[in-house]
Amino acid sequence: MARPRVILENVQFKLTIDRLCHQLIEEYQDFTNTCIIGIQERGVLLSDRIVSSLKRIDKKLKIPYGKIDITFYRDDFRRRETPLVASNTEMDFNVEGAKVILIDDVLYSGRTIQAGLIALGHYGRPSKVELLNLVDRRFNRDLPIQPNYTGITIDAIDEAYVKVEWDEIDGNDKIILYPFKKS
């Protein structure tokens, strides 16, 4: 029976985050009229890391940073046995005319991002939205959604499950590929 496999960890993991930050700096330079929005809950762990790494690289950087919860926008509500409890949304700015970098940890079916885009639209009309993911499971998409910045691409069958573990919560930075979804 296939065992869980660690795809990325420790130094490589940190390098990947730093590389994503440099790609953002290359594209956005001083981040004028740009904001970062992480998707609750796991996406926020990545966006927290991205924002702190960006600030480490550019100490003068000031960028509006929000956290958005998409529970009420999910298209599988009422298809589940019980509703999900929402996390907090922390958005103290609106995105009218702004460039938005939307961040989530794993891009799988694309449905979370679709819900995120609808939720985002309720804070104004952004001039542009780009998507950053740590993991892109490119062969498992239900919707035509693609990331602009990707940490690592993982090609796996539908039954597989990818989990990103974080030092802050799990004690280690790791990306793990499980052969089957945990029940």
Binding site: Y73, R78, E81, T82, P83, V85, N88
Partner: protein, 311 residues
């Protein structure tokens, strides 16, 4: 991962029939909806495939508007029914009326009815989820939830707070639901009013009784002032409104005579100059308008959590 949660019941018939955990789940969800209501676009698509019928067999302004707004903010389809303009006047039974409405594929029913127990009767005879928006002198669960939620917002928590409900306790569904809700959340509850308007054996619900307003206000942290329900008084329970206002009206003078500042609540509609004076209703001690605002978030939370169970 997100925490999964739901209520222990399919209907919200009364606070008596739900658990403390249910109340806390509703409050947590309402916190999220309060944030939604502060956004430029105050609407989420959660209930876009749910149809809700608001059946009001008794007059209502604020509760009906609050429910309707909550339903629309959740993107539900809404139909409204009021008894005054319906076939009820032509002799149709309640069950026939409701079954006719349900054949139009309605998923949830919000109902106000002058007869206590009507939502129970319906819940036993139909499939849709039912939310009681007030049944006679029995219960008004969403009002109690929004009252307790407003106390939690103002004072941090409800537990151990002293709350006195002043006024017409006998005819008040708000009083009964409030007592159940506040007791479940660990508050100390008292009622205050003229002896004719305090039900016998109310102490058996674990509440204190005051007949003197000053003593009650001196005891409490929060006073929830109720309206005299003139429409439910077939016989005279009080000699006159003027006399009631003299003995039980909450006014500036009595508040200033207290040793501490208490919070004033009122479920509305207010009879200014009877149970509460204008300067108190509009003062900074009053959270009456916060209650109305929180009403929408609480009703969104209840609808959202119950809709999750609609098949």
């Amino acid at each position: 991962m997100a925490i999964v949660s739901s209520l222990s019941t399919k209907h919200l018939l009364g606070i008596k029939y739900i658990q403390k955990d249910d109340i806390e789940t509703i409050f947590r969800t309402a916190d999220n909806f309060k944030e939604v209501l502060s956004r430029p676009v105050k609407k989420v698509p959660s209930l876009r495939d749910v149809t809700i019928a608001n059946l009001f067999f008794e007059n209502s302004t604020r509760t009906k508007m609050s429910f309707e707004l909550a339903e629309k903010r959740l993107s539900a389809d809404v139909i409204n029914f009021s008894a005054s303009s319906s076939s009820v006047k032509k002799g149709e039974t309640l069950l026939d009326t409701v079954n006719n409405i349900l054949s139009m594929k309605v998923d949830m029913i919000v109902m106000r009815h002058p007869a206590p127990g009507t939502p129970f009767y319906l819940s036993q005879n139909i499939d849709a989820s039912i939310i009681n928006a007030g049944d006679g002198t029995h219960e008004h669960p969403t009002q109690a939830l929004l009252d307790a939620y407003s106390i939690r917002e103002k004072h941090g928590e409800v537990k151990d707070k002293k709350i006195v409900i002043v006024g017409d306790i006998k005819h008040s569904r708000v009083a009964l639901s409030n007592i159940f809700c506040l007791k479940k959340l660990g508050a100390q509850v008292a009622v205050c009013g003229p002896a004719t308007l305090i039900p016998k054996h109310i102490e058996s619900l674990g509440v204190q009784v005051f007949y003197n307003l000053k003593k009650a206000l001196e005891w409490c942290d929060i006073a929830n002032v109720l309206r005299i329900q003139l429409e439910r008084q077939d016989i005279k329970f009080i000699p006159s409104l003027r006399e009631y206002a003299m003995y039980y009206g909450v006014n500036r003078d009595i508040l200033e005579s207290l040793s501490k500042k208490i919070t004033i609540m009122h479920p509305g509609p207010i009879n200014r100059g009877v149970e509460i004076s204008s300067d108190v209703a509009d003062s900074e001690q009053s959270i009456i308008l916060d209650q109305v605002e929180n009403g929408v978030a609480i009703r969104m939370a209840v609808l959202y959590l119950l809709a999750g169970q609609v098949s």
